[in-house]
Symmetry: C2
Subunit: 212 residues, 2 copies
């Protein structure tokens, strides 16, 4: 399965869930593509990697597609995640409601600062970073979220890897060095803004050369 396809499956899944809530039972590639912000040919090619679940002349059964995409994404089971770094952003992530209903469960909140141990955030007590190995073992954690400042992120990452965590979502503004069997995905606000800046800058330059 192409990586580009994998990255789009969650988008389709969300669009399908929204459709299901409106009572729709079937959907064409054209309609689902529009709702997902892609072209219909791309959508069909993506779905073809899952198997042949459409009906020619009709479209796709919404529930059936939800099932097959969920299965492909490995959402049949609940994944336990550990969140390290309960600062500004970490608290917002802990309070984010979209975890439970999408198959993810926050097993624990960890922070390096002993002064915060025991504090309740989103109903969970903050524990010490040094409890990491216990948490990962006892709770069956397979995904780590890093929401620490940049300076501490690599250390946290190394600890996660040492505990056997091989999937990491990194919100710290730094590039993590990991063994090749570990997947890291980065979410970086400044990066995104700077990419927008590039395009905005380009648009402004074009507007100047070709004035209205």
């Amino acid at each position: 399965m192409p990586e580009a396809t994998v990255a789009r499956l969650p988008v389709y899944l969300r669009a399908l869930n929204a459709l299901a809530e409106t009572g729709r039972t079937t959907v064409s590639s054209e309609a689902l593509a529009t709702a997902s912000g892609v072209g219909s040919a791309k959508l069909r090619k993506d779905l073809s990697h899952l198997g042949s679940y459409g009906t020619r002349g009709v479209g796709y059964d919404v529930q059936e597609l939800v099932f097959h995409i969920s299965r492909a994404l490995g959402l049949g089971q609940r994944w336990s995640v550990v969140l390290v770094g309960v600062g500004n952003l970490g608290q917002a992530l802990a309070g984010y409601g979209g975890f439970d209903d999408r198959g993810f469960r926050i097993a624990a909140l960890l922070d390096a600062d002993p002064a915060r141990t025991g504090e309740l955030v989103a109903g969970l007590p903050i524990r010490l970073l040094s409890d990491l190995a216990d948490v990962v073992r006892d709770e069956g954690v397979s995904i780590g979220l890093i929401a620490t400042p940049a300076a501490g992120a690599q250390d946290v990452c190394d600890r996660l890897v040492a505990c056997g965590v091989r999937s990491i979502l990194n919100f710290a503004p730094t590039v993590l060095q990991v063994p090749e069997d570990v997947d890291v995905r980065r979410v970086d606000l400044s990066n995104e803004l700077q990419i927008l800046s590039f395009h905005e800058h380009r648009k402004a330059a074009e507007a100047e050369v070709v004035p209205a």
Copy 2:
């Protein structure tokens, strides 16, 4: 300039700034590539789109590269952004320290809930969503951040576009429909987790077929 290259320039920029802080004045493509988590050939090809600023046998001058990448990204000017939706996530974004020093300035915080008007968050008063047009005009806003619940995101997006904002960073878990001259970038936590889930699932399946 290839889009894939644009998306990596902010990463290089951050790595270069980190190097500058350690006192390094020059860097090879190999070293910068490692710090950025990419291959050296890819890095050199990316930088070649900016011009020829390296010295064979030596490497790149750190400050000079910072300058050229910043210029290419349009970071010579300060961009004003407006943040709409001051909930859980919105507050975390408002409190994020990385705006100012990277050339972005939060011009205003807006929320649709009148009960929150006037409340101070990160030193800024929350204003009503209906003030949007005034804010965009008076503050010269060119980038919009949407941190509302999914249900309100498209409406906010439409308002931003109507005010002339053509660059949007969307944190709401929904796909926005916009005219083609508007750039939207999406940051979606569940999407990222689901992509990790896919890979974790695949790794688990492989480990079963080929047991250690």
